[in-house]
């Protein structure tokens, strides 16, 4: 009691006369935060180099891109404010953007869920194998995603002449009489892109799932068995998946990001621009306006649309994954 009384004048002493209560509170809070910050300055010193770079190349660009999307900017003249015109042009006038949007959504709707489920399925299957075999299969399944440009080998597998693997196989078995121009025919290119993307997709999340599965508490399975779990599917749904929820969330973030950002494989495999824009995606559209036509304002609008789509899909997915095993 005594202490409290003794402290009071110290606190009120910090008041500046003539200020309202909220102002005083704010000032006091700011002062407290400031002392905390000074006390922990080594934390900021350690973080500074990374975060300066991170802000320069990630945070500021996102904000800048958002602002520029409302302007007309070609790098040479100063940006001109034009309001929503870029967005109006995107969705009303730019037919090619609509094709790109359709392709991207279709592509993501197929490769996103399939690759995500495949990452988990194979991690789950591998998990039951002896360690040596598990390490080998992890390598085989993961290798495509780290071997850089190796995906270009698909141009040989799907070569348009009869030397291509796909063509020669189909011709030998009599499915087709003449070689198909796989990479030049707008009916096939998106399909091939999807196939190659799936081939590349057992990446970071696959490793995260393998690791997550190894960490599920063994005794939970025994307990579950006593509680009446009869088969592997029930075990998966009621024990494994809930125990891995954090990994599942992380994996979803990674798979969604890669499903929406396909561009390189489209450009290098199918070509740019692709036949009838059949393999044109939001990102290739962005590359077109951002690095070839230098319509930076318009490109920023494309980037902002992409950003919004990715963030929305991510947040919805996170909500859905929260329900797993309930």
């Amino acid at each position: 009691m005594k202490q409290q009384i003794a402290e009071r004048p110290v606190i009120t002493g910090a008041n500046v006369p003539g200020r309202g209560a909220p102002g005083r509170m704010l000032r006091r809070r700011a002062a407290r935060v400031w002392t905390e910050m000074k006390k922990n300055r080594h934390a900021y010193v350690l973080m500074a180099p990374y975060f300066i770079i991170f802000c320069t190349f990630t945070v500021i660009p996102v904000l800048l891109s958002f602002i520029l999307s409302f302007s007309n900017f070609n790098l040479l003249e100063p940006p001109k404010w034009i309001g929503w015109q870029n967005y109006a042009r995107l969705f009303v006038q730019d037919d090619i953007f609509l094709i790109a949007l359709k392709n991207t959504l279709l592509f993501a709707a197929i490769t996103g869920p399939i690759s995500y489920i495949a990452c988990f399925m194979f991690a789950w299957l591998i998990n039951e194998l002896p360690p040596k075999l598990r390490a080998l299969l992890t390598l085989v399944l993961y290798a495509p995603s780290i071997s850089g440009n190796t995906y270009l080998i698909w141009t040989l597998l799907f070569a348009g002449d009869s030397y291509g693997f796909a063509n020669s196989f189909l011709m030998k078995w009599g499915f087709i009489m003449e070689p198909i121009q796989w990479l030049q025919d707008s009916r096939y290119v998106l399909m091939i892109l999807i196939l190659v993307q799936l081939w590349l997709s057992l990446g970071t999340s696959f490793l995260a799932f393998i690791a997550g599965l190894q960490n599920v508490d063994r005794t939970m399975y025994e307990a579950g068995s006593i509680d009446g779990i009869r088969n592997r599917w029930q075990e998966l749904w009621f024990i494994t998946l809930p125990a891995m929820r954090p990994q599942l969330m992380f994996g979803a973030v990674i798979q969604i990001a890669s499903a929406f950002s396909v561009a390189e494989i489209s450009i290098y495999l199918i070509g740019f621009p692709s036949v009838d824009y059949a393999a044109h995606t939001i990102v290739t559209h962005l590359v077109d306006y951002g690095t070839i036509r230098f319509e930076m304002g318009y490109a920023s609008a494309i980037a902002t649309v992409l950003f919004t789509i990715m963030l929305t899909v991510n947040l919805v997915t996170q909500k859905l994954l929260g329900k797993v095993g309930e």
Binding site: L207, V253, N314
Partner: protein, 290 residues
């Protein structure tokens, strides 16, 4: 007397489904491996074997001619091939080392210290995992050009230092370091910097290796899209740029292209083989908590 023959049966498994699933797994493993096997075998095929009908998966008369041809092709270029190789290694090594050091320095306070703004900073990092570099490529180009970094190694190195995934994984991994260990350091009078460098860094070795593989994955062939924009001097270009050039040489170059592809994929795969168990260890803490 009844012998109890008890095979240690795994819980909740049936042989039929086991078989079915593993046939599926085998099939997919073949699908994944086929292009890689094809790449390896193509690199050793003489030209007449590359163009046979029907094409063969495996090489009959292996030859090193594709590799020796490569030497011939490169002796024509006015920038010596060794310079491209140097650039590739330089960017991969410096970029990776810088990323590991900076990201772990930033991850330590985020994981283990308490200070104002910590939560906000981490949330921004998580948010930025949700979109890709393409979103920021237009402003990035402007940033790099305003900083005067166009046509320098820095145009590729600096953004690579700031990769988000590495910081995220490192921070999650550091969280499991027992606080007692850090307290002990503090009692001995070590500064936070020393604790970071001498106590934390040695413990998180598995996480470094993980950051190395992801950074390498990013930098090893990253030349393809980004460096074309940022780098125009022939002397600063990397192997995968030349790779594209050889490929433009058309059908005759199919053999040498296969040889370069093989050489380029050996490095990341070898690194992964060596570091696999550390990576799995790191990824077990990668989960995203609600």
């Amino acid at each position: 007397m009844k012998m109890v023959l008890k095979i240690p049966k795994r819980l909740n498994r049936s042989l039929g489904v086991d078989l079915l699933l593993f046939v599926l797994l085998g099939g997919v493993a073949c699908f994944m491996a086929l292009p890689l096997v094809f790449t390896i075998s193509n690199a050793f095929k003489p030209i007449d074997e590359i163009f046979t009908f029907p094409p063969k998966l495996f090489v009959r008369n292996p030859t090193f001619k594709n590799f020796t041809d490569l030497v011939g092709i490169f002796s024509d270029s006015w920038v010596p091939f060794s310079r491209y190789v140097f650039n590739t290694f330089f960017i991969a090594i410096v970029g990776t080392a810088g990323h590991v050091i900076l990201a772990s320095a930033a991850a330590y306070p985020l994981a283990k210290l308490r200070f104002p703004g910590k939560k906000l900073m981490f949330n921004i990092v998580v948010l930025s995992l949700m979109f890709t570099v393409y979103v920021t490529q237009v402003p990035n180009y402007m940033m790099i050009s305003y900083l005067g970094l166009i046509n320098t190694y820095w145009a590729i190195l600096l953004p690579a230092f700031g990769m988000t995934l590495g910081l995220y994984l490192m921070k999650q991994f550091m969280e499991q370091i027992p606080d007692a260990l850090l307290e002990a350091g503090k009692i001995d009078g070590a500064s936070e910097y020393r604790i970071y460098w001498q106590i934390v860094m040695p413990i998180v070795r598995p996480a470094w290796l993980t950051l190395i593989i992801f950074s390498l994955q990013n930098l090893w062939t990253n030349g393809s899209v980004t460096s074309h924009k940022y780098i125009y001097s022939e002397q600063l270009k990397t192997v995968d740029y030349v790779f594209g050039q050889i490929q433009n040489g058309g059908l005759v170059r199919t053999g040498p292209v296969a040889a370069v592809t093989l050489l380029m994929m050996i490095v990341p795969i070898t690194v992964f083989i060596v570091t696999q168990s550390s990576i799995i260890q790191t990824m077990s803490t990668s989960g995203l908590k609600e």
